[in-house]
């Protein structure tokens, strides 16, 4: 895709935005995180006015299908998917590497300075970038095949 094709949105997003707008957009993100806290506080606050409060010891017991709780609260548990968790970390980091590559494989990228002026346009990666990423994916896929052959991709 050429830069001219996406010019309407470039003016709306990256190119027309100064650095303080960029930081400000993340202030909105923080506010929306706090909105959750506000909503929980508000609804539980309203609830505390109308809901009853009649404490009895039985109500505060841990629920174990009706019988008295047995043993420790936090028993030792075997987390059977821990090998998957290790593999997950590797592939998740891989995903972080692929994302920036994916945005530039076939598209031009405009670099903007702090006041929003485009000072350089980077061309698409094309076949050179493609081959490099294919090698990267191949190595990772090899890792997955190795784990598969070593029979760690099964429930233990």
């Amino acid at each position: 895709m050429l830069l001219t094709d996406i010019s309407p949105l470039l003016s709306a997003t990256t190119a027309g935005e100064s650095y303080s707008d960029f930081v400000r957009s993340y202030l909105t993100v923080a506010i929306f995180g706090l909105l959750a806290l506000g909503m929980v506080a508000l609804l539980l606050g309203v609830g505390s006015i109308i809901r009853p409060n009649r404490p009895q010891p039985g109500k505060y017991l841990t629920y174990e299908s009706g019988v008295d709780p047995v043993g420790e609260a936090w028993p030792q548990t075997q987390v059977r998917y821990y090998i998957f968790a290790l593999l997950f970390v590797i592939f998740d980091v891989e995903a972080v590497f692929i994302f920036p590559w994916a945005t530039r494989l076939d598209s031009e990228t405009a670099l903007v300075d702090s006041s929003g002026n485009v000072f350089e346009i980077l061309g698409p990666y094309g076949s050179y970038g493609l081959v490099k990423m294919l090698l990267f994916i191949a190595v990772l896929a090899l890792g997955l095949v190795y784990a598969w052959r070593k029979k760690v991709l099964r429930w233990m």
């Binding site: 709306a12 993100v29 959750a36 809901r51 017991l61 841990t62 998957f84 994302f99 094309g126 990772l140």
Partner: protein, 345 residues
């Protein structure tokens, strides 16, 4: 952004206040819509029963009535629970839901914040809800809850990757992470030289769409991937000790997130707010956009709930195997083929 809608210049705090108020009303409403239309009406219709009939016309106010009922329930925190984490868990789940809505575009100017990292941000914050679920499972000091929380963690590990890798094909084609840019790329696209219908990425990325739908089903712990909340195995899983409105926050988070994920799928694959024939630069797109997006969301949500009501629950090991042996290799192959085709063609 919003000055275009109101034709007046608003200060940052005024814009933000409007956005927060709209979101605070809109997000619970989305959960209500999905709950009523699909969970109550469609499910009872598919199971040949009446469904709720009493509250409001045709039982449409049933969920609102349920919410009022939950508001009157006694607030119980078990003695053995870790009180702070127990109270914080629903906040984390809700925060994850609200943050996902930040980047959802409903029109050329109707977006809370058009972050340049758009879809990447959405993937990051949506997986935050599993942290809340693990917190709930651990802090309840209940064996069922702990097991449910751990299952939710395992589910994230298995299906976060196919989800992210499926998105990658769309990002390669759109050349941007921003949700608005992805919509624009579909509006600007053409099929065999014919540009009138644009190019919804579901056509070129049908494999990614399939992977994405399966992965969001698992991320949302909808059946057939509902092992973390399986009532016959772990009696509700991580929220077994939650009562009243604290319980309802999990419900709200789950259904509002389902709506958000349906919106992401509609935006990535079905063209989002864009409708063929309407100039995306015109003011009309701001009016038609939300309606078009809503229709597309309901189509995607219908698919999600159709699977939910049709398939029996998987086993935990089947879930891991399906993700690692089928979906992830398929998603990697999809990225490779998309990359090659995009460069060669």
């Amino acid at each position: 952004m919003s000055e275009l809608i109101f034709a007046i210049e608003l200060a940052y705090w005024q814009q933000t206040l409007i956005k927060v108020l709209v979101a605070a009303v809109l997000i619970p409403t989305t959960a209500l819509i999905l709950g009523i239309v699909f969970l109550f009406k469609m499910m009872s219709w598919m199971q040949s029963r009446m469904g709720p009939q009493e509250a409001g016309p045709r039982g449409l106010l049933q969920l609102a009535a349920d919410g009022l009922k939950f508001l009157q329930k006694e607030d119980i925190i078990p003695d053995r629970a870790d009180r702070f984490v127990f109270k914080a868990a629903p906040v984390v789940v809700l925060a994850s839901t609200f943050l996902t809505y930040v980047i959802l575009p409903a029109g050329p100017d109707l977006i809370i914040e058009n972050l340049p990292t758009g879809i990447f941000f959405a993937m990051a914050v949506s997986s935050l809800s599993v942290v809340g679920v693990l917190m709930a499972g651990w802090s309840s000091s209940n064996k069922y809850a702990l097991m449910g929380g751990l299952r939710a963690g395992g589910q994230l590990i298995a299906y976060e990757l196919p989800l992210i890798l499926a998105v990658m094909g769309v990002v390669i084609q759109a050349g941007s992470l921003s949700m608005q840019d992805i919509v624009w790329a579909q509006a600007d696209g053409s099929m065999f030289g014919f540009g009138g219908l644009g190019l919804p990425f579901v056509i070129t990325q049908i494999v990614a769409f399939f992977i994405f739908m399966v992965a969001i089903q698992a991320e949302l712990t909808q059946p057939p991937f509902d092992m973390p909340v399986a009532e016959s195995e772990v009696v509700g899983g991580f929220h077994v000790e939650y009562t009243g409105f604290r319980f309802l926050f999990f419900f709200l988070g789950e259904f509002a997130t389902a709506f958000a994920f349906a919106a992401i799928a509609a935006t990535l694959f079905l063209g989002g707010w864009w409708v063929p024939g309407i100039d995306p630069n015109s003011a009309l797109a701001n009016i038609v956009g939300p309606i078009a997006l809503f229709v597309k969301i309901m189509v995607v949500a219908f698919l999600i709930f159709w699977f939910r009501f049709t398939y029996p629950r998987f086993r935990e090991d089947q879930l891991q195997r399906f993700a690692w042996k089928y979906l992830i290799p398929l998603a990697l192959a999809n990225i490779t083929i998309t990359g090659i085709l995009v460069v060669v063609l």
